[in-house]
């Protein structure tokens, strides 16, 4: 052993000192930062966008929810309540909002009607992010005084108020300063905030983390027990999140953890799960433009062939709690037009074979492509299940996994859009329109929401009619009829309604994510950090 004695001794010493160092550090270094302990830590997919008018997915919407405010906010069911607007009046072909006069932006600037007009125009003119909720029926916005804004309508547009809950208001004076070459200041706004929200931006590294801290000038005030800030982390792997939650190094997970991990977290000593009975649904979208699924009978055959029980069995997230519940067709529970009597979908191979017999295609001639979004592990199991189920009908099934970004691109072409696409969606606004119009209107075909490429005159007519009708009862009936029509056309398989489930550390409580009575249908609204409570 004395041969390489000195080298071994050095290595040994290094090892010992590393261990000592580790021991010392773990006891001394970590707890020295008191106020940071009061930051809530949340993680999401790989990157985030903080330009409020470019933000589009779930992760982005959580950031925007906390940095920015909107005129109105979801208030349960399909309704909206006042927020930056104290109230509104409908006046012939226009809607007039009265604004609060006590709102200041993070800069200290007062929020006025000009900011609202600027924000609306910016969102619509850029045409990115969630601007699709702004129907072409909306005309122009005009400031009629410092705290009054008038929106004129080209045509009646029933989902208007709900849509306004998705238009974040920016500090126009600040944004204007950073416009270069007519870029809407989008480079600047992708790295800075110009909002009035309860939290303001500290730093934003789109692939690492976004940090924000409490904004003391928030017009509604931020409760003392709310977190002092938020650390929004990107791209943590499931085992990492799981370990961090156990060791109080993290507070709320993304909703993409595997169900088995959630089960373990629900039993953990320091951990729990947060379940939001929101209006999210899983959709297996069938490409209605691609043989053999351009034949309604083949689509119906697939609907009957799926083992719905098995799908739902995957989503068990705790002892006795299943995140998946039977669906009522295209309109999730809690939204206008939901019809509990719409068939409880179940597997029926006999009927599947009957439908298949009427289909003009022979299954053996076709290979069905079933897609799942890589990163959402449980979707692979659904794909495998479909492979087995549809295989029983004689279809050859190929499974393809695509990252979300690639999927959103694939669906733009019906010739390459996979036959079956798994999409989880919830209405962007509390209005049924935001879900159905963007999924089934023929003019919207080819987005991730409308991977069906449905082209049905009857459906288009009903969707347009529901937009124009102002009487809620009439709209309710239209949506019920529409729901029945869609089930008949079978462009989509509706496997389950979904509770969105998060793993969490016990020190955080988020009433909107835990208490069904306080939960709002637009899921990101439940991530208002100011409504959370952090125990010390």
């Amino acid at each position: 052993m004395k041969i390489i004695g000195s080298a071994a001794r050095t290595a040994y010493m290094l090892g010992v000192s590393a261990l000592c160092l580790g021991g010392v550090l773990s006891t001394t270094v970590t707890p020295a930062f008191a106020n940071e302990d009061r930051y809530v830590r949340i993680d999401e997919k790989p990157s985030g966008e903080i330009d409020p008018h470019k933000a589009r997915d779930f992760a982005d919407s959580i950031l925007i929810e906390n940095l920015y405010d909107t005129l109105v906010v979801p208030a349960g069911g399909s309704s909206v309540g006042p927020h930056l607007a104290t109230g509104w009046t409908t006046d012939g072909n226009s809607v007039v909002f009265e604004l609060r006069d006590d709102v200041t932006f993070h800069t200290g600037n007062k929020m006025t009607a000009a900011d609202v007009v600027y924000s609306f125009n910016r969102m619509r003119d850029m045409g990115l992010g969630r601007s699709f909720v702004l129907g072409s029926q909306i005309g122009e916005a005009v400031a009629e005084g410092d705290y009054t804004v008038r929106f004129t309508m080209n045509e009646p547009f029933a989902p208007f108020l709900a849509a306004m809950s998705q238009v974040p208001i920016v500090d126009s004076a600040l944004v204007e300063q950073h416009v270069t070459n007519g870029d809407f200041a989008s480079e600047w706004l992708s790295e800075n905030d110009a909002g009035s929200g309860a939290y303001q931006l500290v730093s934003h590294k789109p692939q690492e983390e976004t940090v924000m801290e409490r904004f003391d000038g928030y017009f509604l005030g931020v409760p003392e027990q709310a977190p002092d800030g938020m650390r929004f982390r990107y791209g943590l792997a499931a085992p990492t999140v799981r370990t961090l939650l156990e060791t109080a190094g993290h507070d709320i997970s993304s909703p993409w953890l595997p169900p088995e991990v959630l089960v373990e977290l629900s039993q953990g000593e320091n951990t729990k799960i947060l379940a939001v009975p929101a209006t999210t649904q899983m959709f297996f979208k069938l490409n209605t433009q691609r043989a053999p699924l351009d034949d309604v009978h083949c689509r119906r055959a697939l609907s009957y062939a799926l083992d719905y029980e098995a799908v739902r069995s995957v989503m068990k997230v705790a002892e006795g709690i299943n995140a998946a519940s039977p669906s009522n067709g295209p309109i999730p529970k809690g939204l206008m037009g939901n019809d509990p009597s719409v068939a409880d979908f179940g597997q029926d191979l006999e009927r599947a074979k009957e439908e298949l017999a009427q289909c003009k295609y022979a299954p053996a001639d076709y290979t069905l492509e079933v897609a799942w979004i890589s990163g959402i592990a449980f979707e692979e199991r659904f794909a495998l299940l479909m492979q087995a189920n549809f295989g029983q009908l004689g279809f050859n099934v190929e499974i393809v996994s695509t990252p979300w970004a690639k999927f959103a691109e694939l669906v733009t072409d019906p010739a390459v859009n996979p036959h079956v696409n798994q999409v989880m969606a919830s209405p962007v606004t509390p209005d049924t329109d935001s879900l159905l119009y963007n999924s089934y209107h023929s003019s919207r075909a080819g987005t991730w929401q409308s991977a069906e490429w449905l082209d049905d005159a009857e459906v288009d007519r009903m969707l347009d009619e529901a937009r124009g009708a102002s009487d809620p009862a009439v709209r309710e009936q239209i949506y019920r009829d529409l729901s029945a029509r869609i089930v008949e056309l079978a462009p989509t398989i509706f496997p389950y309604n979904l509770m969105t489930v998060f793993g969490a550390n016990n020190r955080i409580s988020a009433p909107r994510l835990e208490d069904p009575a306080q939960t709002l249908p637009a899921i990101s609204s439940n991530f208002a950090v100011r409504k959370m409570v952090l125990r010390d």
Partner: protein, 289 residues
């Protein structure tokens, strides 16, 4: 008398005998042989061969190892052991095809560059440098990002990163060979370039190339599993050891058997071939002295 002349004869027997006395090679050879046999006879060895195909049993998911399922069942109720056994098949197929594509291509370029020198050499070796200047995992990912996911494309992507190593190896060995007197002799005798390359240069590079190939079988399995871990693997339900580890890892430590089985399988397969390569190299070094 003349009938006794054999125009071909295998390598000097002392080398072969020495190799089989080398403990590293021998243990690697035994492991690799078992892996190959298991892979070839997978349908007969696997307890539930149908579980390697489109099969689900949601009533039987994620059961820990038991007498029926030695390595437990996975998230859709398939027998992990059966899938591991079929996974060997895919891994070996991958390695064989990647080597089959990249070795002839890479070695040909390497010895051609070493033999002809001049512009040919510069062109080939600079292009090779370009490929070698991109870390292979990154390059394979970029290529796989381009191609739709399939067994063949995964093989192509890995091959694209693999051939330059053989070009460089063959080039280095062949440069030494080309300066040998017997190459001059062949030229003087009037042998054609192709004959010299095939009969004189190539056979003398072969032992080194074979050694690297033995090692590489394992490393190709490793790279393929890394790609699968990043989500660039084979199409389900094809059993793929790397993806099995990746999906199982999310459920550690709870459902450890989902990771342990396939991870050990990768380790055993890679180990077997790496040991073989090591032993071969030992003997090669001895032979040189």
């Amino acid at each position: 008398m003349s009938s006794q002349v054999k125009v071909f004869r295998a390598m000097p027997q002392s080398f072969t005998a020495g190799v089989f006395r080398n403990p590293l090679f021998l243990s690697g050879f035994v492991i690799a042989t078992i892996v190959v046999l298991v892979a070839v006879f997978a349908p007969f060895v696997a307890p539930y061969p149908e579980h390697a195909g489109p099969f689900v049993d949601f009533g039987n998911v994620r059961t820990p190892p038991s007498a029926q399922h030695w390595l437990g069942t996975d998230l859709v109720g398939r027998d992990v052991l059966s899938r591991v056994i079929f996974g060997f098949r895919q891994s070996l197929l991958m390695a064989v095809v990647v080597l089959g594509l990249s070795v002839p291509f890479g070695v040909t370029l390497g010895i051609v560059a070493a033999y002809f020198r001049g512009f040919t050499e510069i062109a080939i070796m600079r292009v090779t440098d370009v490929f070698l200047s991109i870390p292979s995992l990154v390059l394979a990912m970029a290529v796989l990002g381009v191609l739709p996911p399939s067994m063949l494309n995964a093989m192509l992507a890995v091959s694209v990163t693999w051939w330059p190593w053989f070009t460089r190896l063959a080039y280095n060995v062949a440069r030494a060979v080309v300066s040998e007197d017997f190459i001059t002799a062949s030229k003087v005798v009037g042998a054609s370039h192709s004959a010299i390359l095939i009969r004189d240069v190539f056979p003398n590079c072969l032992p080194t190339i074979l050694t690297k190939m033995a090692n590489d079988v394992g490393f190709i399995i490793l790279v393929a599993s890394s790609l699968s871990f990043l989500g660039l693997g084979l199409k389900p339900p094809t059993p793929d050891l790397g993806s099995m580890v990746a999906s199982g890892a999310n459920l550690l430590p709870g459902s450890w058997w989902l990771t342990l089985g396939p991870a050990m399988a990768i380790v055993v397969a890679v180990m077997g071939f790496a040991l073989m390569g090591d032993g071969l190299r030992d003997e090669l070094d001895k032979a040189k002295k």
